[in-house]
Amino acid sequence: MAGRLEGKVAFITGAARSQGRSHALRLAEEGADIIAVDIAAPVESIGMYPPATEDDLAETVRQVEALDRRIIATKADVRDPAALKSAVDDGVAQLGKLDIVLANAGVFEIFPALELADSAWQEMIDINLTGVWNTCKATLPHLIENGGGAMVLTSSTAGLKGTPNTIHYTAAKHGVVGIMRTLANEFAANSIRVNTVHPTGVDTVMIQNEKTRGLFLGGAENPTREQAAEAFEATNALPVPWVEARDISNAILFLVSDEARYITGVTLPVDAGYTVK
């Protein structure tokens, strides 16, 4: 084990699968212990891909433990500040402290702006924006107590650029940048660094579903992965359709490591050139 995060403890939301699980494993490979939460249940306005399950969260636990690291996993909703606080406090009590926070939990849906139900708007803002703040609020006291730390908030290329049919998602992901910039200023004196990552499409169920493929293909029916790849690739500068969860994990690993000890307040795209194109 390389152990570049040996002795560190990381809190990760949305850790049951996909990017969240990948981050948990990447940080555990480097020696970190993990406090993991996930809603592990359906969300009402999200219908285009299946929700994470308790089995998914259990699988993250199994894989982290297979790396000989400790993990405290709790089923908790980022919309519930009390549940989050309890999960964080309990994890810190068991693992001793907190150094790293990854606000990764998020959902994605596609609606033409004028067809978006008020309830779907509200649910997206509650999870992807307020949920990030709830995560920060539950963890900042522990980072202060720790004498410093690093937070990475997962935004999106949709946090830097507008795309049709994603008004609620795009608004929330832009808002995450505002949270990052404010906290970077407010807690610099506590040696807490705060940055965002901005993935392009990541090869997970969030994009590998019929509705998202259809969005990129202009409404084609039953689009295949191969057809979708071509359409996705056209949106990136580099000749790749999407990136792997591990690419986001590698960027986050750099940001939370001592090699980035003076990097704070930064929006870091990992997007195959989507935003520069």
């Binding site: 490591s257 003076y262 704070t264 520069v276």
Partner: protein, 278 residues
């Protein structure tokens, strides 16, 4: 042990490699296995108030890279002189092989002088020639060999916090030119990122705040800051550090050029202790 993945067998072209950040980058990439083509002017430019690098400095970089059992080709060349720069790069390629990594690091800071009557126009021209035109020359000198090799690659252009903000502006030719050139480097990066994406060559900028090197740690700079407390205050970082170390910039660059950042291109990456977010 370094965080980033290995650069064994890679060749990196680094300008301004005699000392300061350039030497630090050369050593950092050599530690991970890269061979180095190191270019530096090793001479003074008239409008620059602090002493610039010397041939002895460049020789010291070579010594430190060779101590890591890596190969290095050093050449004295001016990034403003495309013919000289191309010859230096071609000689490096002849000895070490095609370039995989380009670090356009060479730069000057002719602003912030205690001279009461500097030649503003000359300072502006000098800094734009070196810090902007020199970056263009560096990329164009190396890219054909990268495209021919067909293995992709990574380019990092060294901009500055002055490439993202204008804080501390004082109307001097040197400062005007420095900020304009460093902003211009972002423009080059963005157009190159689009140009070179199909060849899987990634292009990014780094934006350091003040770094502990001879460019800012010199008597002229100290005297200027003491005489201009308002500008000195405007140049303070958000994190409670006066400046960062060259290795902090090298670490960011080592990550950007590694496979860990294989899909990162077109990005402006501040390494600035929160200067720009302040």
């Amino acid at each position: 042990m370094a965080l980033t993945s290995n650069h064994e067998g890679k060749v990196a072209l680094i300008t301004g490699a005699a000392r300061g950040q350039g030497r630090s980058h050369a050593v950092r990439l050599a530690e991970e296995g890269a061979d180095i083509i190191a270019v530096d002017l090793c001479a003074q430019i008239g409008s620059v108030a602090y002493p610039m690098a010397t041939p002895d400095d460049l020789a010291q970089t070579a010594k430190e890279v060779e101590a890591l059992d890596r190969r290095i080709v050093t050449r004295q060349a001016d990034v403003r002189d495309m013919a000289a720069l191309q010859a230096a790069v071609d000689e490096g390629i002849a000895e070490l092989g095609a370039v995989d990594i380009v670090l356009a690091n060479a730069g000057i800071a002719p602003q912030l002088t205690s001279d009461p009557d500097p030649d503003h126009e000359q300072a502006f021209r000098d800094v734009v020639e070196v810090n902007l035109f020199g970056v263009r020359n560096t990329v164009h000198a190396a890219v054909p060999s990268m495209i021919d090799k067909g293995q992709g690659g990574a380019i990092v252009l060294t901009s500055s916090t002055q490439g993202l903000t204008g804080r501390g502006g004082d109307g001097s030719g040197g400062m005007d030119g420095y900020a304009a050139a460093k902003h211009g480097v972002v423009g080059l990066m963005r157009t190159y990122a689009n140009w070179l994406a199909e060849h899987k060559i990634r292009v990014n900028t780094v934006h350091p705040t003040g770094v502990q090197t001879p460019m800012i740690e010199n008597d002229e700079m100290t005297a200027y800051m003491e005489a201009n407390p308002g500008i000195s205050a405007a140049l303070e970082n958000l994190m409670p550090v006066e400046s960062v170390e060259a290795v902090d910039i090298s670490n960011a660059i080592a990550w950007l050029v590694s496979d860990h950042a294989r899909f990162v291109t077109g990005v402006t990456l501040p390494v600035d202790a929160g200067f720009t977010v302040k």
